[in-house]
Assembly symmetry: C2
Homo-oligomer: 747 residues x 2
Amino acid sequence: MPSNDTVLLTSSPEHEEHIYELTEDGQLHHSQTKRTRVYKDGSTIDWQHEEAAERKRAQQLRSQAGARGLVLPLIESSKLWFIVILTGIGIGITGAWLDVLVKWLGDLREGRCSYGFFYNQVACCSGLDPGEICHEWWTWSETFNVKTLFAQSLLQCFIYVILAIVFAGSAAILVEAYAPYAFHTGIPEIKAILGGYVFDAFLTPWTLLVKAVGLALAVASGLSLGKEGPLVHVACCMAYMLSRFFVQFRYNEAQKRKLLAAAAAAGVSVAFGSPLGGVLFGLEELDTFANETDVMWRGFVASAIAAVSLQWVNPFGTAKLVLFQVTNASDTWRAFELIPWLALGVIGGVVGSCLIKLNVEVAIYRRNSYLASWPVLEVICVSAITAGISYLIVFSRVQASELVANLFQECDPTKGDYHGLCNPTAMWENVFLLILTATVKVGLTAWTFGMMIPAGIFLPTIAIGACLGRAVGLLTQGLYRAYPAAWIFLSCPPDPSERCISPGFYAVLGASAMLGGVTRMTISLVVILFELTGALSHVLPIMICVMTSKWVGDALGKDGIYSVWIAMRQYPWLPPVTYYDKGETGAHIMKHLDELVVIEDEESSVSDLDNILENHDFNGYPVVRKGELLGFITREKLKQAIRSLFPADTLERTHKCSFSARHSQLPETTRVDLSGFLEEAVLQLRKEVPQELVVSMFQKLNLRRILFTNGGKLTGMTTKRDVVGLLTSHFPHAGALSQETHYSSGQ
Amino acid sequence: MPSNDTVLLTSSPEHEEHIYELTEDGQLHHSQTKRTRVYKDGSTIDWQHEEAAERKRAQQLRSQAGARGLVLPLIESSKLWFIVILTGIGIGITGAWLDVLVKWLGDLREGRCSYGFFYNQVACCSGLDPGEICHEWWTWSETFNVKTLFAQSLLQCFIYVILAIVFAGSAAILVEAYAPYAFHTGIPEIKAILGGYVFDAFLTPWTLLVKAVGLALAVASGLSLGKEGPLVHVACCMAYMLSRFFVQFRYNEAQKRKLLAAAAAAGVSVAFGSPLGGVLFGLEELDTFANETDVMWRGFVASAIAAVSLQWVNPFGTAKLVLFQVTNASDTWRAFELIPWLALGVIGGVVGSCLIKLNVEVAIYRRNSYLASWPVLEVICVSAITAGISYLIVFSRVQASELVANLFQECDPTKGDYHGLCNPTAMWENVFLLILTATVKVGLTAWTFGMMIPAGIFLPTIAIGACLGRAVGLLTQGLYRAYPAAWIFLSCPPDPSERCISPGFYAVLGASAMLGGVTRMTISLVVILFELTGALSHVLPIMICVMTSKWVGDALGKDGIYSVWIAMRQYPWLPPVTYYDKGETGAHIMKHLDELVVIEDEESSVSDLDNILENHDFNGYPVVRKGELLGFITREKLKQAIRSLFPADTLERTHKCSFSARHSQLPETTRVDLSGFLEEAVLQLRKEVPQELVVSMFQKLNLRRILFTNGGKLTGMTTKRDVVGLLTSHFPHAGALSQETHYSSGQ
């Protein structure tokens, strides 16, 4: 029976364009429907309607005759799982191959493999006994056999810088030319989208492609950026692309978002090799799974599958999810170590918020200076500078990830000593070098994060933190070696040559503290970090550091880096923070009646409505009769109504529009019945309710608007944007980077 | 300045009893206040008010002059963390010592240590070389040196059963006599309490003590029960006890509950040695941390600290959190194993829901039969039966935890073979024995869970699942050994003697599936299980089993065991499920105006109000004037008002009560102004809003009631209980075990 198929196809009345015919009695008759897209980019979706539509679809499916009623729902959910699983696998494999690509490009900056251009150094030198030097891998100076040492290093440095510029430049050009939304990390946008913001241009296949390729180039160019955030974006693009194939997602924004949430979790899971961290990230930072176990479960499945498929591709032959394995850190901690740990926490908090502030300043400067018009040039210059500096400072010459891995390692006589880090006599040099590296990286990161290029901020932050942490660790160790008998070190073995403090672990703590200061995440961060380092036994110190740095950071400025960017770009996103008012009521936040554009029932004519639509591009308009609220009509519906009236030439455009035909005074010949378009069940409050209740209703019920009435009379209205404005009011640069006045601004 | 201290003391106007004086103009003047307890057991708290009160307190603190304004908030939060940390440590240590006690009592049933009565078998036989037989540990027959084999086994069996009865009986007597609320698992009550149900009698120090001791006795008695759930209860009792010392918690129910949530997480963390599992349990099952990162963070800290202190006490010298270490399970899975895994999932789902149904039947039978009046006797009989049966069936003779540990072990020639489980020739015997054990345990568990004794259901479920899983594993292995060349086994090594299928891991999967079927938890379950077994690499199969069993189980009956008990005891708890209506609106769920007890403004006299209070013990009453809603007055406030009127003898009790003094028609001499007691900012909806919106508002905003108005006129009202009734309507036995008609029933 075809009717069933149409049932299957139409996801919600919202998404059909109704063609009406006007009968002589001024009554509209519904003749035919065709589907259109309702939400324009920049608007926010109406969760209630989307959910309702989905429910209706589900019911219609279940209510099918006999077997269909059982099978169809199964098919539906299997589609859902198909997308979830496919996204997981997809992002897992993508992540793995990005790693390979980055490694190869990165090595290319140093040299090439003699017997195969497309081998990276490891692959090229594989199959050698340990200790044997690798003759297959040629540095560039060997390739062009340059003899003199000076010329060699000059050539190396030259190629190093040139390739950096080439990689970064091409990435920037890709972004600039093909997918402007592929720049930056993408997490702020994802957060906004998951919160109900409509921004489909952000998730196109082009963006997916450019972001993936550009990311590889950007990371390989050695700029101070990471791949973590962008991977989340890539994962969401994948899920979005897949969702386009199924009507139930294509035409239901809420369902689509639930998919994207799962995809985001998978992205994190691949980025850090931490499936649990992915789920908790989605939970805490993206704040999506609240109260919806099934969505959370999807995220869990997606991220687990992503992790497994990453492990399966196994890019580097180490069948490990743990990226930065922490080796033999002494499992016992001494009481006195609490002091350096707390110190690290404080440092992380302070440096973290400095980084945020610096980044904001740079972003605003970039926006208002001539740089705005030369994005590619900026990228090229910055990459040149970065490459130059990195080449000079030994620690920052390698990929950030390699640096981190080395800093996390404990000193082990059997293994090689990384740039003399373990040389006790060279402590001060090392500390100086580490702090220098950290400082430089702070500056570079603050500038890089926000350029016209895919860039995540996790890895640089980890690197900075690791440097600082290692430095603190070295200092503590040095202190211990200097005064092994001091009372504070009594818990340590008396012989200073034995291990008592493990600086590698301090690097981990530094990284945690730094991340805490920059992102202000808590649990997900801890989980990610111990899944990243495999140091489950060390979870408590990590917690201490994260907590301290979060407290210190919050004292210096409430928002993490992502919230700051959301505020600057002015996305309609409600932070999940619990808002405290100072005794204000709804009256303070609502727009008063006289500021609103209201439709008077049976007063305003068709052409009046036309004018309203033209002059005020609001999201919708309250309908009142003699001050008493009848309901609310959204812009889209009103448009439909008007449009459906045009074909009827018989119609006087001076006819009055009646939204309450039942008890109408006007004669039927002089009015048009639009009551079918009115939603009467709008949420109403008295303006006396405390403001925080209003805010939390917006937060928890995902509302677009609340109407305030008193004894049935409309007194005012509050929209999501008003609440967002309220919640970001404390941030000075709110809206500094917003592109355009948004479609759904105002009421 | 003393005023500040009073500010510190009073947490919310709700919690003061106002003494008013009546001046000649009928105006009430506030003279003095003294604090009282507002919520009686059985009522539900008003989250909005509690939160508001807390906010007010916080503001008053922050607004202190100078240094006080900075220091006081710090002190406050330090108090909070003090409780959280102390609870963590406390529950960690308690859990550890409970283990020791149980081990000792359990061993006592077999024999005693020759040189020290208070040593358990392990401690007694410590310091022996492997293989050396332990002469210090005497079985009872050795103690009373009985010679003949028959007499020996008779004596052993006799003492075994007698001690079981003694332990179980004394536990039951303890519960019966001192703390009736210490019976059962406690998780349903905790869920209700965290949801806003007031039930302080459930958290008294006596309950804490009795539950802890009784738990040890109950577990040692070998009854088919576990310690996991009760530990959560114990943890909550601790937190509650500690919270009593600080006004900010004693007088604020919302804050108290946030503490309890953290404590619950800690309890789980200790029960399974899984800190993350604790957090996720609190998140998914208790559904408390939704949208509140700081609460979640507290839970995380508490559970981490609990786990660490458990590890620190380290009861059994194995410095491991992992309870049931899974050894050398082959990390590679074959495709064909998906079949037995899915089978396990289905089995788990089916058996799980059978267990639930059986348990419900037993509970209802117990309630309605003469058993209700002989709880202790019942416990004694059941323990005797259990002991008898367990002694006969070899697998169930040991503690359930020991059984599980053995079933999870892979066969390993070097290690001992547990009751010939690894003997390939005895496969059919083993399978039969395992299934028999499982069946018996299902029956016993269904009966035990709900007796007058502390009892958790996690461990028995795990044991049942482990038996079934191992059985399936053995069968699969047997099949493989029989037909090693079959095409389905091609992925296995051709030589059947080599390891291809690891039955021990199948036991783990069986346990997961069974737990999934009984509790219907998902993520927290997976996390708990892999933290329990340390098998992070096995997370995917576990997920598959849990998911399958949940699906199958949900098909056979929506609710998990805890929801079922909540429904039977009729606690006002809103399940976090997303409710789908069939197009109903608020009108269907609301009580209509004519069913409500309404106070007519300026109509009803003081004595009328008195009568209302006497005759209808509702939570509060809407106040209307000529049908138009003025606001809502809670029972407590109305009581206050009336009580405050009694002292004034000058007052005619026929005076009309006016709640809207501003625009009153009555002369001041003939009315009493009660407008001070009216809350005007009540949430109002139109009855046209869809029912699911009403439900989700109750769920997400933690409301107690919603008033329905139309054009300012009161049309009806819905309370939390109505919504609970709606959400539990599908469950036939709802309210079967509810003790009394609850205080806050009705409007």
